[in-house]
Amino acid sequence: MAQSILSAAIILSLGLLTLALLLTVLRVVRGPTLPDRVVALDMLVAVAIGLIAVIAVKTGFFLYIDIAIALGLVGFLATVAFARFIMSHRYRAATETAAKPPSEAVHRGNARRNRRPRRPRR
């Protein structure tokens, strides 16, 4: 009885996770800006870890858990690298129509250096 409930739950959760994966891929394709796509890719890694965990329960090979942990660490490193990349580029308003255009001129290059105008020294 409990085993049949478990196998039904495995099938159900595989279906739900597949749907979640497809919706997340839709946001990766549609996402208007780069950080939207990065958030969706991070979410994609999380859903893939969930799928690996469900497959580990389904097959009984618990070696898959190590693969899931390794995938989580790789996804974390990828998100951190993308965050560094986003930090080094100014946002250009042409990619999203809903946002207001920034009032100051768009700076290119290092965002930290160009973030705010330097105050005059007195």
């Binding site: 409990a2 478990l6 996770l17 979640a20 950080p35 958030v39 859903v47 969930g50 998100t79």
Partner: protein, 96 residues
Amino acid sequence: MMADTLALLCAFLLVAGSAFALTAAIGINRFPDLFTRMHAASKAGTVGSSLLRLAAGAFLILTAPVAAHLLARAAKGSGYRISTLSVRATHRDNKK
């Protein structure tokens, strides 16, 4: 008896975790701007994958909040604004 209880617990964790993951995916598609999408992905998504990993017998919730914080900080710092649908913006960059 014990094995049945464990199997039922595992089934519950599997269904709950994948329901959370599906909720996060719907939220990522429905919310209007980056920061609200991040709210859906980094909370519901983390809970979903953590429940699924708990069902499989492992638990690791350390990297997702750090990654979400870094990404939000980078996006905020490089000039991404919150949606114009927002009714309350208290950060000093969002005030006119």
